[in-house]
Amino acid sequence: MKRLMYGVVVPALVTLAVAGLWWVLSASSTSLFFPPLRDILSAFATNWLSADFASMVLPSLWRVGLGMLIGIVAGVGVGAAIGSVRRAEPYVKPQLEFMRALPPILILPPMILVLGTGDGMKIGVIAASAVWPILLATVDGVRSLEPVRDDMGRVFGLPWRARFRWMILPTAVPHIWSGVRAALPIAFVVMVASEYYSSVNGIGYFVSQTSTSFRLADMWSAVVLLGLIGVVLNTLVAVAGRRLDKKFGENAHD
C-alpha cells in the first residue's frame, strides 16, 4: 500500500502538477521560443501519434538498439577476456580509461570522415561510445570473483565452463548490467547528435530541421518525445536487470 502510494501515486500526481503548471504559465505565451504547452501537445499528436512515428522515430530506435547490442557483445566479450587475465591490467587499463574519458561527440567528425554519413557510421559511433562503460564494468565484474571461490572451483575440479556459469557469471552480471544502464543515456546522446550532424530521418534530424526553420512547437514536441522514450527504455533496462539478476545473480534459482 505504502509502496503503491510512493512508487506510483505520488510521482504521477507531481508529474501532473508540473505539467499543469507548465500549461497555465505558458498558456498566454506569445514567445516564439517558448510556445504554449497546448501547441506543443497538438504538435506532438500531429507528429508522433501518426504514421510519421514510424518514419522518424523507428530509425532512431533501430540505431540505438543495434549500437547498444554491438556495444554489449563487444564490451562483455573483451571485458571478460581482460578481466580473466589479471596480468593484462597494467597494459590495457590506461588505454581503456583514456578511451572512456573521450567525449563521444568528439569522435563524430572523425568517424564521419572514415565511415561516411550513413547508418553504418551512426550505429558505429553509438556502439563505440556505449562499449566503454560496459567493458570496464565487465572487467570489474569478472575481477570481483572471490579468490577463495576460485580456489574452491579449482580444487573440486570444475571445468572452466562450469566455473564461468556458476561462479563468474553470477558475480559479474550485476556489474555488467550497471554498465549497460550507464551506457544507454550515452547511446541516446550520440544517436541524436549523429542524426543532427547528417541524416535524412530520425529524431535528431527532426530536431535539427524544425529548429532551423523556427517550427519550435514541433521541435519541443520532439524533446518531449525523447524524454518519454528515455524514461521507458531506462525502466525496461532496469526491469531486465532485475530479471537477469534473478536468473544468474545472488538470488538465482536453479
Binding site: V148, V155, L158, D254
Partner: protein, 271 residues
Amino acid sequence: MTETAGLSRTSPSSPDKDDRVAILEVDGLRKSYGSELVLEDITLRIFEGELVSIVGPSGCGKTTMLRCLSGLLPHEGGTVRIAGEEVTGPPDTLGLVFQDYSRSLLPWLSVADNVRLPLRYKPISKKEAEERTAEALESVGLAAHTRKKPWQLSGGMQQRVAIARALAYHPRLLLMDEPFASVDAQTRVELEDLTLRLWAERDMTIAFVTHDIDEAIYLGGRIVVLTRTPTTIREVMPVDLPRPRDQIATKALDEFGRLRASVFTALGHHQ
C-alpha cells in the same frame, strides 16, 4: 553437550615401521615469493586412515603450504604426491574444507546444489550424485535443510555444508584449513566431534590445519608442528590419547596437559 566420537579407532603411534599406504607424500617441498623463502625443505608422510593435525605460529607459511599441497600453487622444489600421483594441479583425489565457508559456498545455489555441483562434473551417474549428496548431508545432520540457501543457515551449519560437499566428493585425502576458526566456541566443539565421528565411520584420511593447540591435540593422532617462516617442520609428536575422545574426559587427562606444554614449547613460546 559433547557426543562420543571416534568410536573404534586406535591411534597409530609409530608411523614409519609398517607397510601402511602413504596417502600424502611430501619430499623436500620448497617455495618462495620472489627472494623471500616461505617454505623450506618440508618432508612429511600422512598414511591412510590417519588424522594428522598441523599447527604453526600465526603468520607462518601454513596457507602457502596448503596451497602447494593441494596443487593450487606451483611449488619450486621437491615433490608432492597424493594417493601416489604427483601433484601438478588440484588432483581429483583431494577434498578441501576452507576456513571461509561463506565464500567457499555459492550463495545462489541451494545447500543440496552446492554439495552436488562438483559431482556433476565427475564421471558418475546422476543417480549416484543424488545419492551421495543426500547421504553426505544426512551424515552432517542437514537432511532437513537441503533446499535452503547457505546464507539462511548459521555459520556452523554452513561449515557443515562445506564438509558435506567434501564428503560427497569421496576424496582419498581431506585437507581442512582452519575450518572452525570463525565459528563460536560451542559450535566449534560440536564440529570437532562431528569431524571425529565422520573420520571414524568412513575410514578417512584427514590433514587438519589449525592454530588452536587444544584442537590439534584433541583431534590428532599425530601433531605436526611448523616453525616460523621460512617454514619447515619443527617436530612431529604422536598423540597417545585413547579414542574415542571426549571433550571433557580427554581434556582432563594428564597426558593432554603434557602434550599441550610440549606443543606450546615447540611453537616457540616460553612459559
